[in-house]
């Protein structure tokens, strides 16, 4: 397999797998600055509806002004939240970070999470669609997550880039022909639009989908890349193929990762997408006890990349503070020597780091065509 032109993308998780995230801004600021010193593409911070710990998007917004270049990608859940709020929060993260935002789409399938929300009949509201209570099966909430990602994209596009005109002669602040009702009707919700937030700096913040979930297969089931994928896993993969800019796959060897990448790109093509627009990162747990481990990691990443296993890597340190400093001090210099990592950031946005173009608003495109 030919080696791609762009060096491997490199991201790191800030959450420790063992401990719940803590409401400690200084802790996450220090980690993100470290990752930025290593010129990584982005950091992720996990979350789930119902905690524990602080809201991941809040944490990354809190540290945005204390960093300058690193991409910021919180997990945002879509099952018990309002799609409109999800879209405006992610767009706002892009505004406050000046174009460095992404989000990892996640769902909630447990009864415990459903029990935190509302009740079946809600006074006075004209309810539409599925009730968020009780818990729904994984396949259902993943298909809904796909719709949330779709409507988020439409809302981000609903203000064309040049909608704000400030035309003193006519007294018009915006050109309302460049603002659009999205009029989205999905299976479980509808949104009229337009967004209340102007189009964010990246046009569309980067959408990340963990295509395999955190237990090998979704919901503790078998990995969808081995054996027969169960329903929820297949729906998760479809969302990654149809909606993600970046898909994460958890795989133990380069062959499995490479097969997953090929499968995702094939599915993306089936959705009418350019498969090159979907970056597949191998998501790897790392535990670096020594400097030798850090060097070994550089070898492993170089080796996997040479084999075409992935477009890059998402590292999940066992102990973020320790492992991240080993990565930045030990692994990063070796990757740079081998031409596998930038020495300094050339761009300022997450899309620029990833080599992804800034998309045009679909409404602006439609106007050009008509």
């Amino acid at each position: 397999m030919p080696v791609p032109h762009h060096p491997p993308r490199l991201a790191v998780a800030l959450d420790a797998p063992q401990d719940p995230p803590r409401p400690d801004a200084a802790h996450y600021t220090a980690l993100a600055r470290l990752a930025e010193r290593g010129t990584l593409d982005f950091v992720t911070l996990g979350d789930r509806f119902g905690g524990p710990g602080p809201d991941a998007l809040a944490v990354l917004a809190r540290i945005a002004p204390a960093t300058a270049r690193i991409g910021l990608v919180p997990t945002v859940t879509t099952t018990h939240t309002e799609p409109f709020h999800v879209s405006t929060a992610v767009a706002t993260l892009d505004w406050v970070s000046r174009g460095r935002a992404g989000w990892t789409v996640e769902v909630s399938t447990t009864e415990a999470e459903a029990a935190l929300v509302g009740l079946p009949q809600v006074l006075g509201f004209a309810r539409t669609g599925r009730d968020p209570h009780p818990a729904a099966p994984s396949a259902e909430v993943w298909s809904e997550a796909g719709e949330v990602a779709e409507v988020a994209g439409l809302l981000w596009d609903s203000w064309e880039d040049d909608a704000e005109i400030r035309d003193r002669a006519t007294g018009r602040f915006v050109d309302r022909d460049r603002l659009h009702h999205v009029d989205f009707t999905g299976r479980t919700f509808s949104v009229r639009g337009p967004s209340i937030v102007p189009r964010p700096p990246q046009g569309r913040p980067v959408t990340v989908v963990d295509a395999t979930g955190d237990t090998g297969g979704p919901d503790g089931g078998p990995s969808p890349f081995g054996g027969s994928p169960e329903a929820g896993g297949a729906a998760r993969l479809e969302v990654a193929a149809a909606r993600a800019d970046v898909a994460l796959v958890r795989a133990e060897d380069p062959q499995t990762a490479g097969a997953a990448r090929a499968a995702l790109r094939e599915r993306a093509r089936a959705h009418g997408r350019d498969p090159g627009a979907l970056l597949v990162l191998a998501s790897l747990p790392v535990e670096l006890e020594s400097a030798a481990d850090a060097a070994g990691l550089a070898d492993l990443l170089g080796d996997w990349y040479a084999q075409g296993a992935a477009d890059g890597f998402h590292l999940r340190p066992a102990d973020p503070a320790r492992d991240l400093s080993r990565i930045v001090e030990g692994t990063v210099p070796l990757l740079r020597e081998r031409g596998l990592l930038r020495r300094s950031y050339e761009g300022t946005t997450l899309r620029a780091h990833l080599g992804l173009p800034r998309p045009a608003s679909i409404y602006a495109l439609a106007r050009e065509v008509s």
Binding site: P23, A58, V96, A112, V117, G124, D175, I196
Partner: protein, 439 residues
């Protein structure tokens, strides 16, 4: 004043990021972006330099429409409140950070967690302005759709806030969260809130909404009221009415601060300030805005009228629904009659009438006269302080901080340094007691 036995009240000040209405004069060379983070940072840093209690963001969950099209004359487009406030926590140290978030289009668990996160990440500076978005128009952006009647909106808001407080109180101590079992007409919430209690105990709660239901809700549960009653007389009546409601809830007058939203115009002389105020009003009410304002009252298309000509003789359509996303005018005929009388008596054009009838500049004068007036307002119990709404983004607050704040400090009615680190301490509010555990 010298014989007044009471100590002089300290003035509370907050800064409102100019919102999406015609207070903001965007057609001015000094007008910057309403959406770039730099604008929020500038205004927040100015407010902190001025030792303000808090910075305030409004919320609107749907772009307003007029005659079925998006309203295009005023500033529009704004960020999601909590995300901006979290980012502002990184560039300020003491300033309170207040976000308006609707209790109608959110759920208690999620919002309690988001506000507790802000309170932790800012070191105890969070405030929530609990509003009850009133229209089905806004509901079209949400899963639940629709809307609630006023009575239901406030019962939902009250139960929403009570549920959030149960969750905040249940926070994990020493790693062990307590289970919450809330059952009410609006919500059933069962589970654990796995965040430690936040630095202020509970974020500060602000209420904005003037109806009897709104006032009662504020008296029972809010720490601050954001009101539009900014005149001396109306202010005193509102103040007395709200404070009178407190004892029924076992609360003292000092437990609820009343802060009207006010504008200001400063000049080196009174005449200069007056002149500037007139000019600002003309810019706020362009010919297009004047006609649109009239159409909102009349409920009919008036685009054929000349903004510099006389008011229409036709009567308003009481069922006319040209404007969406605004609070509806209760009695359009009465407003129209009043405006026509004003126009006839003073010989005013449409635009001049709108300027005169909708004028709401609160403090116009020299820095000294504004400081004096504000102080008199607070000492006479028309308010406990003010939420300042500048007409320029983001530099509109700078002259106030540079010229008026020092005079308030000289009068001994405004702090000369922050003495606490939390918003509750700036406002002189006690930390809510942690309820005794049932388990």
């Amino acid at each position: 004043m010298g014989t007044d036995p009471r100590p002089r009240k300290q003035i509370h000040l907050a800064a409102h990021f100019p919102g999406v209405n015609n207070t903001t004069v965007w057609a001015d060379d000094r007008s910057g972006s309403q959406i770039d983070f730099a604008s929020f940072e500038h205004l927040a840093r100015t407010a902190e330099r001025g030792l303000f209690d808090f910075f305030f963001l409004a919320e609107g969950l749907r772009l307003r429409e007029h005659k079925g099209r998006i309203h295009d004359l005023d500033v529009l487009g704004r960020p999601e409140s909590l995300t901006v406030l979290n980012a502002l926590a990184a560039v300020t140290e003491r300033l309170g950070l207040a976000g308006t978030v609707s209790a109608t289009f959110n759920e208690p668990y999620e919002l309690a967690r988001r506000f507790a996160s802000l309170d932790h990440l800012s070191g105890g500076r969070a405030a929530w302005n609990v509003v009850t978005t009133s229209d089905a128009f806004t509901g079209e952006n949400f899963r639940r759709g629709g809307y609630l009647d006023r009575a239901d909106r406030y019962t939902r808001a009250a139960e929403f806030l009570a549920t959030a407080r149960e969750l905040w109180d249940s926070g994990a101590d020493g790693g062990v969260p307590h289970r919450v079992e809330h059952r009410g007409p609006h919500f059933t919430v069962r589970g654990e809130f796995a965040l430690p209690r936040s630095p202020q105990g509970h974020p500060v709660v602000i209420q904005a909404g003037d109806s009897a239901e709104g006032r009662e809700f504020a008296a029972s549960a809010a720490d601050v009221i954001f009101t539009r009653h900014s005149g001396q007389e109306a202010g005193r009546a509102f103040y007395a009415d709200v404070k009178r409601r407190l004892p029924a809830y076992g609360r003292r007058p000092a437990d609820l601060k009343i802060m009207p939203g006010v504008t200001f115009v400063l000049g080196d002389t009174a005449a200069e300030a007056q002149e500037a105020a007139v000019e600002i009003r003309r810019r706020q009410v362009s010919p297009q805005t004047a006609l649109l304002t009239l159409e909102q009252v009349w409920g009919v298309d008036l685009s054929s009228y000349d903004p510099d000509g006389p008011l229409p003789e036709i009567d308003p359509d009481p069922d006319g629904e040209l404007a969406r996303g605004r609070v509806r005018i209760a009695d359009p005929q009465a407003v129209a009659d009043k405006w026509r009388a004003l126009s006839r008596a003073k010989g005013l054009s449409i635009r001049e009438t709108v300027i005169e009838a909708t004028g709401r500049q609160s403090f116009v004068g020299t820095p000294a006269s504004v400081a004096h007036e504000m102080d008199a307002f607070v000492q006479s119990d028309a308010a406990d302080g003010f939420i300042l709404v500048p007409h320029l983004t983001p530099g509109g607050l700078d002259p106030f901080v540079e010229r008026v704040v020092p005079l308030l400090q000289e009068r001994g009615v405004f702090r000369t340094e922050y003495t606490g680190t939390t918003l509750r301490s700036h406002l002189g509010l006690p930390e809510p007691a942690r309820p005794a555990r049932k388990d």
